[in-house]
């Protein structure tokens, strides 16, 4: 049931969003982030202190996270997995395995969204989908250096928080590695990045 909230937020029709159902409370821009590790570790590493924060007032979401952690703990690989056994097709993701929802924060947006990284196969797909979702923004597309139609003239840089708590530019590592290590996404205003020396684009093209 809890997963329904996340899935609903995926609908591109923004009119379908029901604020009561999402039960989010938002921190004001500029407030320090509150995280489970107290934020100290993050604060020392991150360059960006401004983030639209999400206070986890939604109990269902907590339960869902807890549940998936429990699941992972309950069934560790009890024996070494043999290559190609059982003989199920590799990418045919069946059952409940394929689901990696991460929050997406956009500077200046009043609420966050969630996306399931597993349904994409490349950076390009993810960015296109994010553009659809936040339809009034354009995302700076380092990956192809292509010109995306600028709607309102504001460009955003896609960044993400990895397993170590560091904020990284999207696109440097192979796609699958990114999916595994990404905890949340932030679309940061390009204007904020000016002066931070981020002139070179990421190594990996959108086809990886």
């Amino acid at each position: 049931m809890s997963s329904e909230n996340g899935k609903r937020l995926l609908e591109t029709d923004a009119g379908g969003l029901n604020f009561e159902a999402t039960e989010l409370t938002l921190g004001l821009p500029g407030e320090p982030r509150v995280t489970s590790d107290g934020g100290a570790k993050l604060g020392s590493k991150r360059g960006f202190s401004e983030t639209v924060d999400l206070k986890l007032g939604d109990n269902n979401r907590e339960v869902k996270l807890g549940h998936s952690l429990q699941e992972a703990a309950k069934s560790p690989v009890s024996k070494t997995q043999v290559v190609g056994w059982p003989p199920v097709r590799g990418f045919a993701k069946r059952g409940k395995k394929s689901c990696k929802y991460v929050k997406v924060a956009v500077d200046g947006a009043p609420y966050l969204r969630k996306v399931d990284l597993e349904i994409y196969n490349s950076y390009q797909q993810l960015l296109t989908s994010l553009e659809d979702m936040f339809s009034c923004f354009t995302i700076r597309n380092y990956l192809n250096e292509k010109k995306i139609e600028q709607v309102n003239g504001i460009e955003y840089m896609p960044t993400y928080e990895d397993k170590d708590g560091d904020w990284m530019l999207v696109g440097d590592v192979p796609w699958q590695m990114f999916v595994e290590s990404c905890k949340r996404l932030r679309l940061m205003k390009s204007s904020e990045a000016v002066g931070l020396g981020l002139t070179t684009g990421p190594k990996y093209s959108s086809t990886n």
Partner: protein
């Protein structure tokens, strides 16, 4: 008398007669009658099937059959599906396309399976074949949406584009928009393997709305529910449809729109997709269920009660693919509702979990075997089995033609008796006299192979894993199974003796795969020398097999018959005797 008759019929008459003979086997027989029939037949053969793209060269095919319109090629061995064939092994289609581009300007159908297809190949297809109609890329890889764009833009008469289970790179080209506005010929479109960014909804809707002959449409996962209804309303004549993602809470407006759209589809017979389906939406398809003959729920995480309800609406079902969430109870319901069932495939929802997460046992399969008299084809993943159940299944269903059982934990014994499964599978091969495909699993000694060699006379394909005690097992199969074409083995103690004793048999088969067995490189070289029309490929990424100790066994072995000789596109990790010869000759 027959000779006079053969020569008294004119070539035109014979050609006309031959045109009614479609099957490859029959065509091959016809061409063997006499030289003149061979000549006439080869000029009028229009369809070619090459089960192993390395068994023959494109030039040889073109030389013998100058006027081919349709070709089907298969590349990598079946175990490539389970990551046992390293990347770069082979199966490249480019050379075939290049040769055919020159020789067959009227080629209109290309069907490929497990081949590496580049954008260059697709672009060549797009510009070389003026009347191109059918492109099927099953489990292929190596191409991107750029290649698809070329096909869309150039193939004015394209009827079928099927990318089933292929891996497509996203080049971010909106390839669907490359179908010109004047293009209206699509009959079958399968893009279910594409990622979310690779399909533009508006282009898709425009395409669907202008193709009145569209019969089969399989969309990809990321098309949302409200779009599904739109598309169905644009194509109520669909016979096959793959739904998009259902993931959403139940919204009554979306539900009724969807239900209404489905109810318009009077011709719908086959449904698949159902990724992330929320059970509350399932009733939207009830209006078509009574006519459904094929249902693929193998991506749907719905639980047994919902499946039972759904199954009760589908009395005409012939093909069902489902996850083990269906449980024994679901299969029992199926057995009582769907008397026309011919094919059942039950997949594991959590294949790598040691513990069962659904109550699916051998009982479900036994119930279906008892209740469904037309059941012919079974693929069943489960965690326990008994010889008694297998014997019951065999006795209930002697009409089985395909039986693939995967007991998930290797070497699992009969849970009732602790015995190996020789008796059970023995009963299967003994009773099911028309069995053409068999996959074994569980604890197995050489005994089961003795039964197989003795009874499985029509068996064409056998898959074996973690089974057997000695070479005798392999010997029984190779010496007994008269119709065997494909044999794939992994992790069995089969070695040199059985192979070398049955060397001649290997030339009567399409291919033999053995990985993690006990075959030495010496034996491979010997076999290769003995049998010049076999390609013996040792696939080993650990380095040159010759530089290893005497008792070294090869990692993977792929042997196939070929009239084309050794191939020229072998990667460095594939070792054959010729390479070895070259090494020996060099100072």
């Amino acid at each position: 008398m027959p000779r006079r008759l053969a020569s008294s019929l004119s070539d035109e008459v014979l050609e006309h007669v031959f045109s009614f003979i479609q099957s490859d086997k029959d065509r091959n027989v016809v061409s063997a009658v006499c030289k003149s029939w061979y000549e006439i037949e080869r000029w009028c053969r229009r369809k070619i099937f090459v089960g192993n793209c390395y068994a023959v060269s494109p030039k040889m095919v073109i030389r013998r059959f100058p006027q081919v319109r349709s070709i089907e090629l298969k590349g990598k061995p079946h175990f490539a599906d389970f990551n046992l064939v390293p990347d770069g092994w082979g199966g490249y289609v480019l050379q075939w396309i290049t040769e055919m581009a020159g020789a067959y300007p009227w080629l209109d159908e290309i069907r490929l399976k497990r081949m590496v297809v580049t954008d260059e190949s697709l672009e060549l297809i797009a510009k070389s074949f003026k009347d191109f109609k059918v492109l099927v890329l099953a489990s292929c890889e190596g191409f991107s949406t750029d290649g698809l764009a070329a096909i869309a833009a150039s193939c004015k008469n394209l009827r079928e584009l099927d990318l089933r289970e292929s891996e497509v790179d996203d080049s971010s080209v909106h390839w669907l928009s490359h179908f010109p506005e004047t293009y209206t010929s699509m009959v079958s479109l399968n893009i279910s393997c594409l990622g979310s960014g690779e399909v533009s909804f508006s282009a898709l809707e425009r395409l669907v709305s202008r193709c009145p002959n569209l019969r089969s449409l399989k969309l990809n996962r990321a098309v949302p529910l409200d779009k599904t209804a739109n598309i169905l309303r644009l194509a109520p004549q669909l016979v096959e449809f793959s739904t998009c993602t259902y993931s959403a809470e139940l919204r009554s407006d979306v539900f009724s729109n969807l239900a209404g759209a489905f109810s318009n589809c009077k011709e719908l017979r086959s449904l698949s997709g159902f990724w992330d389906v929320v059970p509350d939406y399932l009733p939207a398809i009830y209006s078509v269920c009574s006519r459904l003959t094929s249902l693929n729920l193998s991506y749907a995480t719905i639980q047994s009660p919902d499946l039972i309800k759904l199954a009760s609406h589908c009395p005409s079902l012939q093909h069902l693919l489902v996850l083990d969430y269906t449980e024994d109870s679901g299969l029992e319901a199926l057995a009582s509702n769907s008397k026309d069932l011919q094919e059942l495939r039950v997949f594991p929802s959590d294949p790598f979990d040691a513990e069962p997460n659904a109550s699916l046992t051998e009982q479900g399969l036994v119930a279906v075997s008892l209740g469904c008299p037309k059941l012919q084809s079974v693929l069943y993943f489960c965690r326990r089995m008994s010889n008694a159940a297998l014997v019951t299944i065999a006795q209930n269903r002697p009409n089985l033609t395909r039986f693939r059982l995967c007991i998930i934990e290797p070497k699992t014994a009969d849970y009732l008796t602790g015995e190996p499964f020789g008796v059970g599978f023995g009963a299967i091969v003994e009773h099911c006299k028309d069995l053409i495909r068999l996959s074994l699993s569980g604890l197995l000694t050489d005994c089961v192979f003795e039964y197989i060699g003795k009874y499985a006379k029509k068996l064409e394909m056998l898959s074996v894993a973690f089974a057997g005690d000695s070479d005798l097992g392999l010997h029984h199969v190779l010496s007994g199974c008269e119709s065997l074409r494909k044999l794939e083995i992994r992790d069995c103690p089969f070695g040199d003796k059985a192979l070398l004793t049955n060397a001649a048999k290997l030339e009567t088969m399409r291919s033999l795969w053995m990985s993690s067995c006990s075959v030495s490189f010496e034996a491979c070289k010997l076999l290769s020398q003995k049998m010049p029309r076999l390609n013996v490929e040792v696939i080993d990424e650990r380095g040159p097999p010759d530089s290893r100790p005497e008792n070294y066994t090869v990692d993977k072995l792929y042997i196939y018959r070929s009239v084309a000789g050794p191939r020229f596109d072998m990667p460095p990790f594939v070792w054959t005797k010729d390479e070895d010869l070259a090494l020996r000759l060099s100072p």
